[in-house]
């Protein structure tokens, strides 16, 4: 099964507002993401995960387009 993982280390600015600032250290890019997207990224910070387990195809596609995750 293909696995999803982060493209690099991330930092977050989260003040429980429903949206979160996400900083991608390798690219230097800063994104505004949803709280759901942050949860997904935090899950992937623990290690690669199966798309079936993550159950968030649309969100993964969005995060991949933003350069934050990729599918092995």
């Amino acid at each position: 099964m293909p696995l999803w993982e982060l493209t690099g280390p991330l930092q977050f600015y989260d003040r429980s507002e429903g949206v979160v600032v996400c900083y991608h250290a390798d690219s230097g890019d800063t994104h505004l993401i949803s709280a759901d997207a942050q949860q997904l990224l935090l899950q992937l910070r623990d290690g690669p995960a199966d798309a079936a387990v993550l159950a968030a195809d649309a969100l993964l596609a969005e995060l991949a387009a933003a350069g934050l995750v990729y599918c092995q």
Binding site: Y13, V19, V21, Y23, A25, G28, T30
Partner: protein
């Protein structure tokens, strides 16, 4: 004021310094050395920079600026070139637009250097010891609002650059005259007959441009940082009712970072500096059409935090 000011120089001495080694002006933490043989530059500086502290001739300068014709072709065509050392931010400009380009050039000097600060593209004003940071897209009305606040007793820390020392919730003052464009020039002139406005440059790529002498507050040239407590994103919209509504810190972070001069350049240090800075602020969107109403609302807002 105990320091020597530009106004203390006679017009002859001002001309000699501009034509010689350079007029050395203290602008916040920096010194500009300006050389220019142009009469409009001397006139504009005398009008707008009269209360600026002078740095002794020959002393250290952070920015060595020259602005004048660089050869016979430029002389014949009435064109001028701006240089920071050997760097040129823009091509030759017509003499009729010289003053606007001088101010833009002086902005550019700071925008592309001095990365010891996180530099947001924002006006910064202060009242009762509280700094209010106003990032804004071009045309959002931040400079007009900044000018109106100055005429109502607020201190202007900058019309263009919010200088934030990393790890602090303060803004370092770097006051220069406030830039006004097109209709804003007469709007501000009409609010105060005593308002001092410098040379008008017509037909620039931004239309007509002039600058307001806005160092009206007694602390205008104090160099101590001022605590920041508020961030307001102004948006002028003709006919719109006044609306001030809270804005999330994350959203404010992103907007301010994307309109910063060096957030990306500073990389993680920029992210850390923004996190710390934004955490200390209450953020708002301000939509306005009536300047008096906007000024009154900001007066009341800062009163709530003083």
């Amino acid at each position: 004021m105990s320091y020597a000011r530009l106004a203390d120089l006679g017009s002859d001495a001002l001309g000699e310094q501009l034509s010689g080694d350079g007029l050395r002006l203290r602008v916040g933490p920096y010194c500009y050395a300006i050389q220019s043989p142009e009469a409009v530059v001397a006139r504009g500086l005398a009008t707008l920079y009269g209360d600026f502290p002078l740095v002794p001739a020959g002393g250290f300068a952070d920015f060595h600026v020259t602005f004048g014709p660089t050869g016979w072709r430029q002389r014949l065509r009435g064109q001028l070139d701006f240089f920071l050392d050997e760097r040129r931010p823009f091509g030759s400009v017509p003499r009729s637009q010289a003053y606007a380009f001088l101010e833009w050039g002086l902005n550019w000097c700071l925008s592309v250097t001095m990365n010891e600060y996180l530099k947001l593209h924002a006006a910064v004003v202060a009242k009762d010891g509280i700094a209010l940071v106003m990032p804004g897209l071009p045309g959002a009305g931040k400079s007009t609002l900044c000018a109106a606040l100055a005429l109502r007793g607020w201190r202007v820390l900058s019309d263009e650059h919010a200088l934030i020392p990393p790890g602090r919730r303060e803004v370092v003052p770097v006051y220069r005259p406030v830039s006004l464009k097109n209709a804003s020039i007469n709007v501000i002139r009409g609010r105060d007959a005593a308002a001092v406005i410098g040379p008008v440059s017509n037909d620039t790529h931004k239309g007509s441009v002039a600058h307001l002498k806005a160092d009206l507050h007694p602390d205008s040239h104090c160099r101590a940082p001022v605590a920041a407590r508020l961030m307001v994103f102004p948006e002028f919209q003709a006919g719109a009712p006044l609306e001030l509504r809270p804005k999330g810190r994350a959203e404010s972070f992103l907007f301010a970072a994307h309109h910063a001069f060096n957030y990306s350049l500073l990389r993680e240090a920029g992210f850390d500096a923004m996190c710390h800075f934004i955490d200390g602020l209450d953020c708002f969107d301000l939509r306005y059409s009536d300047l008096d109403a906007a000024v009154a609302r900001l007066d009341a807002l800062v009163g709530e935090f003083a």
